[in-house]
């Protein structure tokens, strides 16, 4: 085995292109770095990782030099340290750094645990990154007690006009991490180095706002910034958190692991977790990165259970609320009661909701809002026994070719888009079907701008390998077919596929097109759509995706729950029944459900963390905990079970959904509700899902219209609550434009006509 020596330590290693820096890190030898980041390819810009290697000329950067057999590396000799000190001194000319060499720093740090809130950053004590500054770490390691040169303040105004984050480029050290992560990892390129020499700065084209530069506000630049130049506006002054807790984000179906800073039992900030946590590996989107604290700490959260008496909603204890619900439910025929769950419930809570309906009440009128896409995907996968075809985001990055259809994932699923771009950057061809935003179009090698209606046609044509493709020129069709005919493919598809003439056909074609080796990636819009399906939150499905029609399984459940089970009403059927006056009670768990059609319902029981239009007519309101206050499991778009960990206590008197449903089940006198924790629920559910059995094929009705991206969470419309998000979403339509197809000659001609006779237009050489 080859070996090398670093600072006198003999290290054996495998020669596989890893650099001296990689080997040193594995061995716990610290080499200072500023521009290096685990997410990013080596850059060699900051010169802090310089080392001396015997036999090599001068000093070499450890981050870009591959380790070789018999190398003798020195990282700390006097010449090196002197050189590093000099480089640092030059760097610090333009970085407010009086604190770095101040003798009082340690005392100052101890007694002022929070930075001074200041519009201008003049030193470490006024910097929001005071607790986590990598530049300071390097300065401390290299040991600098003198600035050496006259400091120069760049006097650039702090940029606060864009949503979500502040940018103070006066303290930027031009390490290029933000530029590289935006361009090379996220594929956006919203920022770049502009100009050169002393004038170099990170900027957008012509100094445009970030809204105009194509920025998605994913926050990746903030997360890699080693200084305080980039900081999240709403989360930068809370100082050191009491603790950090990682849980799953439920704002879309990706299932990102998000790390929360908790202080005084409230969420202060959210970051993407470590680069080792699947599926997002240190990345997030605008919602997960910036919106969760504002959402969960909203002042109008429902906090106290209320019961409507004589038309007025009165705060009551939980017992009184359960009492009233029991009264309402007991006086109504089971068939006239409907339960509408949320795609944001944990799998456990979804299971309990349908169990409550089926075992305590005796009705299968259970469904959840927005179940159309999950229903199509999960049922098709169950019928064809192809759950294994669903890939993980890690697989996506290694795909040989990609088809993206039925959604603009760069907007709605930014983390999925990042994985997609990683494959594209590696050279995988991307075939885009349908309309999408500028980013996807730029990444695409082939773009087929078909209307959603035609998705099923083109996918079938591709799957069967037909000669002609709808709406595609012959030459391109041949290229597309040759691309998808070999290697391991990836098909990312979104809920717009429901708009196809025949969604079922499209879905089957997708699976066929992916073939044996390929993988599919259904981009679910909401947190736990798959979990809700598996838990049986469907009128015709029992837990474990068994059809109510399968008598052997049904009788098992009937024996267990002591009630007869038959297929119930779906959400749309409930709406129909309600409009005809055939539904008396509606148990609403998702405030985002439209109230249209439910006017004639006598009693509404509303359980949600957020108020919505249902509050005004609910007979009973139960305040539920948000997902950061809940525990349990969710199933993400990779079909993986992810843990939801309780980050804070439920706000006010609110309770977790599983607890509310358990207590209510007990109050209704049902035997099977003795759970002490969601784990017990999960254990019970596991009995039914051990072998996911396929049920009967069910016709899926398409009732969905293509809508603009408008993230919701159980009655809370995020853009209405978070001003910056609204600014961002409002600016998005401006980006939706076709890529220019003008030739150079046409473009020059148009421009010169625009500019008038003043321009000296020359013919092409």
């Amino acid at each position: 085995m080859p070996s090398l020596t670093i600072d006198g330590k003999q290290i054996q290693f495998k020669e596989d292109g890893r650099t001296i820096l990689d080997i040193a890190r594995e061995e716990g030898i610290y080499i200072p770095t500023l521009c290096d980041h685990p997410d990013l390819p080596p850059h060699g810009g900051c010169r802090m990782c310089l080392v001396e290697v015997e036999g090599m000329k001068g000093f070499v950067t450890a981050c870009t030099t591959p380790a070789k057999d018999n190398m003798i590396v020195d990282t700390t000799n006097d010449d090196l340290m002197k050189l590093k000190r000099n480089i640092l001194q030059l760097l610090l000319i333009e970085h407010p750094s009086a604190c770095v060499v101040c003798a009082e720093w340690n005392t100052c740090n101890e007694y002022r645990s929070q930075p001074f809130k200041s519009g201008l950053i003049t030193g470490c004590s006024t910097c929001p990154s005071k607790a986590s500054c990598e530049l300071r770490d390097v300065v401390e390691y290299v040991g600098l007690d003198d600035l050496g040169f006259v400091p120069r303040y760049k006097e650039m105004p702090v940029e606060k006009d864009d949503p979500f984050f502040d940018r103070d480029y006066n303290i930027c050290i031009l390490c290029a991490r933000c530029v590289r992560v935006c361009d090379e990892i996220r594929g956006t390129g919203a920022i770049s180095f502009a100009k050169r020499g002393h004038e170099t700065r990170v900027d957008t084209a012509f100094g445009n706002s970030h809204l105009d530069s194509g920025c998605w506000f994913c926050g990746a630049c903030i997360d890699v910034c080693p200084t305080g130049a980039l900081s999240p506006r709403m989360m930068k002054w809370h100082g050191t958190p009491d603790e950090t807790v990682v849980t799953t984000c439920m704002l879309c179906g990706t299932g990102c692991q998000i790390e929360f800073d908790v202080k005084w039992d409230r969420i202060m900030a959210s970051h993407p977790g470590s680069e080792n946590s699947e599926p997002n590996r240190g990345h997030a989107c605008v919602l997960g990165r910036f919106c969760i604290p504002s959402l969960m700490n909203a002042p109008d959260r429902l906090k106290i259970p209320t019961v409507r008496r004589d038309g007025v909603s009165i705060p009551v204890s939980w017992d009184e609320a359960y009492e009233r619900i029991a009264e309402i439910l007991n006086e109504t025929t089971p068939g006239r009661i409907g339960f509408v769950g949320a795609p944001h419930l944990t799998t456990e809570a979804a299971y309990l909701l349908q169990k409550l309906a089926r075992s305590a009440i005796g009705t299968s009128n259970v469904d959840f809002r927005g179940s159309g896409f999950a229903s199509l995907v999960v049922r098709t996968l169950a019928d064809t026994d192809s759950f294994a075809k669903v890939g993980s985001l890690r697989d996506l990055e290694k795909a040989d070719w990609i088809i993206a259809v039925g959604g603009d994932f760069v907007k709605t699923h930014q983390v999925v888009a990042k994985s997609c771009y990683q494959a594209v950057a590696r050279g995988a061809p991307l075939i885009l079907i349908g309309e999408a935003g500028v980013n996807l179009k730029r990444w695409a090698t082939e773009h087929i701008p078909l209307k959603a209606k035609a998705f099923s046609t083109i996918l079938s044509q591709l799957a069967v390998g037909e000669e002609k493709l709808k709406g595609v020129k012959k030459q391109h069709a041949e290229h597309i077919k040759s691309v998808v005919s070999k290697g391991e493919g990836a098909i990312i598809f979104g809920s717009d596929i429901l708009l196809a003439n025949n969604p079922g056909e499209a879905m089957t074609a997708l699976l066929r097109l992916a073939g044996d080796k390929g993988r599919i990636y259904p981009a679910f819009d909401q947190g736990n759509e798959v979990g809700a399906m598996i838990a049986g939150l469907q009128p015709d499905l029992l837990p474990g995706l068994t059809s109510v029609g399968a008598s052997s399984v049904r009788s098992k459940f009937e024996a267990l729950w002591g009630k007869e089970i038959k297929a119930g009403l779906s959400l749309e059927q409930m709406r129909m029944a309600a409009s005809k006056g055939e539904l008396d009670v509606l148990y609403v768990i998702d405030g985002s459900l439209l109230a249209k059609g439910f006017k004639k319902v006598k009693h509404v029981i509303y359980q949600s963390p957020f108020p919505s239009e249902w509050v005004n007519r609910a007979s009973v309101i139960l305040p539920a905990a948000g997902f950061v206050e809940d525990s349990g499991t969710v199933v993400n778009m990779e079909m993986k079970q992810l843990k939801l960990k309780q980050v804070t206590q439920p706000i006010g008197k609110s309770k977790q959904d599983w607890l509310i449903l358990t207590e209510l089940g007990r109050r209704l006198g049902s035997e099977g509700f003795k759970y002490k924790s969601p784990k017990k629920v999960a254990k019970e559910l596991r009995e039914f899902t051990k072998e996911l059995d396929s049920g009967a094929i069910v016709e899926i009705e398409s009732i969905r219209k293509a809508a603009d991206w408008n993230p919701v969470y159980r009655g809370a419309i995020l853009a209405e609550r978070i001003r910056d998000l609204k600014t961002f979403i409002d600016a998005l339509p401006e980006r939706e434009r076709p890529l220019s197809t003008e030739s150079m000659d046409d473009f020059v001609k148009r421009l010169s006509e625009q500019e008038g006779a003043n321009t000296q237009v020359k013919e092409a050489a």
Partner: protein, 157 residues
């Protein structure tokens, strides 16, 4: 350009910018957006490259393009004073164009005529050993010719 790979497209940035500048005289904003679409890159990536090289300009050049050399030899021979004086005379900073769109002024680093320092390039013609006075004469003669050309153009109509 559609059939090229991403890396091949990225290589087209500088030649394309050069062609645009060659034909339009400068790089307008629209050109950056158009080129970004063409090369499947973001506007920022193009702008970053364009703003790095002094050769690319973002403002419309005037009818006459005046470049004053501040390379080592020209600098020593008083090129900086020449630039400052010209800048004052035209009332614009280096890189800008006069409001009447007649002159644009640019500061360049060496035009390869060090023996003729300080050198000035007016509309691609090099004038060596320039002084403030000779430059004034040069500009005056250009003005005169322009006036004459305008007159004859007006007369012929």
């Amino acid at each position: 350009m559609q059939d090229l790979s991403r890396a091949d497209l990225a290589e087209q940035v500088i030649p394309s910018l050069q062609e645009i500048q060659e034909r339009l005289g400068y790089i307008p904003r629209e050109a950056i957006i158009w080129l970004a679409d063409k090369l499947h890159l973001s506007e920022q990536e193009i702008y970053g490259v364009a703003s790095f090289y002094n050769n690319f300009r973002f403002t419309l050049p005037g009818k006459h393009h005046l470049r004053i050399c501040l390379g080592t030899a020209c600098h020593v021979q008083g090129g900086d004073r020449l630039l400052a004086a010209t800048s004052e005379k035209l009332g614009i900073k280096p890189g800008d164009t006069t409001p009447d769109k007649r002159y644009s002024l640019e500061r360049v680093a060496c035009v390869g005529c060090c023996a003729l320092a300080p050198a000035v390039v007016l509309d691609d013609v090099v004038h060596g050993r320039t002084t403030q006075r000779s430059l004034k004469r040069l500009l005056d003669s250009v003005d005169r010719e322009d006036r004459k050309a305008k007159k004859s153009e007006g007369g012929s109509q």
